[in-house]
């Protein structure tokens, strides 16, 4: 089976989008002010890949592909690509007139350097995928060939800027990457260039006049404003000082009020690629949560509808299991995990829980999470648990979760569009290791499921993968190793005259290439 998709013009992309804004002709000019929260530690996307960094650096750096809201690949630096029938060879053809911000030419050599040298050293998440890669070659200036050792289903899903940003070889080759001075003045190929960063205040980007797509970008200047306080961020939008509130920049409580304002639009699109999925870790290693009945009692105690309504403004959905509905191979037909206090009490009675204090770790990411933990504690207390909140800051949370020093702990993780990339990592036995809060922290062990994950990842057939993943979801939901909560809905709030703000499944993190302001 050969897949071949080629797109040439921006209008073609726009046509493929489901967003309604393209009826108008884009207008050039204007300044866009966005909130950035928290202030990113660095803008060098090759070194730091957290949310804020990616949001700003997504304008500066690009990768070979982008993904639409259905997670289908779209052209970016690669104008076309070809996957061999055996699923082992991926050939990318690059745009031929792309230049770095400092004027140097962007070539296939840069791609090889970025992936094989730079990112292989600095990017742990990509490194995990690169184990499947046999070789990366640049037969000519505009062609890059990836050869795999064996088929890897989700491979075409890793060519996104946050996973595989293109790094300028002429700047970084042979240097100490982490301490290169140029990290403070990032050079990419993206639609906007880095201009100035006043720490604690704002990051200023300006239009890349030499961008390879004629006419783009439309905006002249972009400011990412650093406003550390949620209420102040809301005020900044209200008083017109910023135009865009990306997901998570204001407290959820403020969302209804802000979205009710004039000339204000809201979308929860642009998160499909990440598929932020929240759950409570349950400690399967030791303590009361080792008993499946206790875990089920917890699961059915949780009034997630209330949380969705009171805390998340009905943005997002109830999770039905380990896989987000926006992630590929989702299967909703799994055993019910809904709110049922009576059932919860029954499971609790059947369990060997004998009244010990359950230590619940909230996620130290602000008000909503804190409130959620408080509501959850109350839910559990009403079922008959004795629960104590353990206050931590981010560092303490990381440490406790990484060291399995908890009974219940809130968390949420991205799924990166494919179960093999973002789901299996938290359920397979091989990923149980102290020290990291992002692996199989719960300590879920099921050899049968492990085998299925293995099989699904290397299958080249989507149909076969779907079947395997459905099977996995069924088994895991029945084991309740963790208590799944919500598929989080992060609303992007913006002035309605800002058009084409979110055009891909990665949202604003994919850069403001297409955005324009209606005058």
């Amino acid at each position: 089976m050969t897949q071949k998709r080629t797109f040439f013009t921006a209008t073609a992309i726009a046509l493929a989008m489901s967003l309604p804004a393209f009826a108008d002709t884009p207008q050039s000019g204007g300044t866009l002010n966005l909130i950035i929260q928290p202030e990113p530690p660095s803008l060098m996307l090759g070194l730091v890949q957290n949310g804020p960094t990616q949001m700003v650096a997504g304008d500066i750096y690009e990768s070979l592909l982008r993904y639409d809201v259905n997670l289908d690949p779209q052209p970016s630096l690669a104008k076309e690509w070809d996957v061999s029938e055996d699923g082992l060879t991926y050939t990318f053809t690059l745009h031929d007139d792309v230049k770095w911000h400092d004027g140097e030419d962007f070539t296939s050599e840069d791609v090889v350097f970025s992936v094989d040298v730079f990112l292989r050293e600095t990017h742990p998440r990509l490194r995990a995928s690169l184990v499947h890669v046999e070789s990366i070659e640049a037969p000519d200036e505009n062609t890059v060939v990836f050869t795999l050792k064996q088929p890897f289903g989700p491979f075409l899903g890793i060519f996104e800027a946050g996973t595989m940003p293109m790094i300028p070889k002429h700047i970084y080759e042979g240097t100490d990457f982490a301490n290169n001075e140029m990290n403070n003045t990032p050079i990419g190929t993206g639609p906007f260039k880095f201009e100035e960063w006043v720490r604690g205040s704002y990051i200023h980007l300006v239009k890349n006049e030499d961008y390879y797509i004629e006419g783009k970008p439309y905006l002249d200047e972009v400011y990412y404003q650093v406003v550390p306080d949620g209420a102040s961020r809301a005020v900044a939008y209200e008083t017109g000082q910023v135009d865009v509130l990306p997901g998570g920049s204001i407290e959820n409580f403020d969302v209804p009020r802000i979205t009710a304002m004039d000339n204000t639009c809201v979308t929860d699109q642009g998160w499909e690629f990440f598929g932020p999925h929240s759950w409570m870790w349950m400690n399967n290693h030791e303590g009361p949560m080792t008993d499946v009945n206790t875990r089920k009692a917890v699961m059915h105690s949780l009034d997630r509808e209330f949380a969705l309504e009171a805390l998340w403004n009905n943005l997002g959905k109830l999770a039905t299991g380990p896989v987000s509905s926006s992630t590929r191979f989702y299967d909703g037909d799994t055993p019910s995990i809904g709110y049922d206090p009576e059932l919860a009490k029954q499971y609790l009675a059947d369990s060997d829980y004998d009244g010990e204090t359950i230590r619940l770790l909230p996620l130290p990411y602000g008000e909503t999470w804190q409130r959620w933990a408080e509501a959850t504690r109350q839910n559990l207390i009403e079922t008959g648990f004795d629960v104590e909140l353990v206050a931590t800051d981010v560092a303490g949370w990381n440490q406790r979760v990484g060291e399995w020093d908890f009974d219940l702990a809130f968390t949420y993780l991205y799924q990166y569009g494919d179960p093999a990339l973002g789901v299996s990592r938290t359920y397979v036995e091989s990923n149980i290791a102290k020290g990291s809060p992002w692996n199989n922290v719960a300590g879920y062990v099921n050899p049968e499921v492990d085998a299925l994950w293995q099989q699904a990842a290397v299958s080249a057939s989507d149909a076969e993968r779907q079947e395997l993943y459905s099977q996995i979801q069924d088994i895991i939901v029945d084991d309740v190793p963790v208590a799944w909560l919500l598929e989080l809905g992060f609303p992007t709030i913006y002035r309605c005259n800002v058009k084409d703000l979110v055009t891909t499944g990665i949202g604003i993190n994919d850069g403001l290439r297409d955005a324009w302001i209606e005058q």
């Binding site: 742990p124 102040s232 981010v394 991205y414």
Partner: protein, 322 residues
């Protein structure tokens, strides 16, 4: 006098050194491994990544070595490097410090000037409704939580009335220059500086009032009256000057509290100063930034104290010449 200042400087330096060691010990006693935090934010899962980070930040060195390195570097004003923010700590602080100094100094001046004026007024009109009103206000300000009054002020003046900007340091994206910029910053400064100053204003007011009343009872005031001096001259020249001595001492001591109060004010008003930097750094366990901010704020307090000492010397001949 130079001797006196030199002696104070040496003392300050010793305290500063002690603070360095103390801070280092304290913060390293904290749970939470900075490498784990950074790895987490990078979305990393593997051990190697964390180990690399630890090595890169010297976190794998013996404790004593880390301490010695820190003290040596701090003495040379090298406050380390924040890997979380990819910047030398001293640069981070330099960026934030002016905003904090602007805020605290303005608050301090507001508090001192208004506090002393109100205190003098209350003392000279002791027992009248002036005194009652001023003393009651002072009592209220003294009892009001700083963060709460900041919240209420921003609600009232920024949200409801829309008179003043309620957050930040300057109008976002306005890019004013010259006098416009000064005015813009000034406008942003009013609410945070006033709310921060309010508590201290109450302190200075009460102190000035009490001190004025106490001085009025002293013999030299009687002498001044016996000379036939007018009440105004007596109050100004004899009572106030003497009454200000304890106020100066207190003001110097309070300076440290103002820096602390700035953490709350800066958080509520999104003021980009070191108070906010401190709170962020604690949340992220950014050791080098934490140590740096602590060091700088303690140094600021010591500087304030030194200035107070010098002022005291200038005002009080008994210390200058005795």
């Amino acid at each position: 006098m130079i001797r006196f200042i030199l002696a104070r400087l040496v003392k300050a330096a010793v305290i500063l050194l002690a603070i360095m060691i103390f801070n280092f010990l304290l913060i390293h006693a904290a749970p939470g491994d900075p490498a784990a935090v950074m790895a987490g934010e990078a979305g990393a899962t593997d051990e190697k990544f964390i180990a690399d980070l630890r090595a890169r930040f010297g976190l794998d060195q013996p404790f004593a070595v880390q301490l010695w390195t820190y003290v040596k570097a701090t003495v040379q004003l090298d406050l380390g490097y924040s890997y979380r923010q990819s910047m030398p700590v001293i640069d981070l602080i330099w960026q934030r410090l002016p905003a904090t100094i602007l805020l605290t100094m303005t608050a301090f001046v507001i508090a001192l000037v208004l506090g002393v004026i109100a205190g003098v007024l209350a003392a000279s009109k002791q027992g009248t409704w002036w005194d009652t009103v001023i003393s009651t206000l002072a009592l209220l300000f003294y009892a009001t939580p700083l963060f709460w009054v900041a919240l209420m002020a921003s609600l009232l003046f920024s949200v409801v009335l829309g008179w003043l900007p309620g957050y930040g340091y300057q109008t976002i994206g306005a890019n004013y220059t010259g006098i416009d910029r000064v005015l813009d910053i000034g406008k942003h400064l009013i609410l945070p500086a006033t709310t921060l100053g309010l508590f201290f204003m109450a302190v200075y007011m009460r102190m000035t009032r009490a001190s004025m009343l106490e001085m009025s009872r002293l013999d030299f005031v009687k002498t001044a009256r016996a000379k036939g001096l007018s009440n105004g001259v007596i109050q100004r020249r004899h009572v106030l000057r003497n009454a200000l001595l304890p106020v100066i001492t207190l003001a110097g001591l309070q300076a440290g509290q103002i820096v602390g109060g700035a953490v709350l004010t800066e958080t509520v008003f999104a003021w980009p100063g070191i108070g906010r930097l401190l709170f962020e750094a604690i949340n992220q366990r950014d050791y080098s930034v934490l140590l740096g901010v602590f060091f700088v704020s303690a140094a600021m307090v010591l500087l304030f104290n030194l200035i107070t000492d010098i002022l005291y010397v200038l005002v009080d001949p008994r210390i200058r010449l005795g």
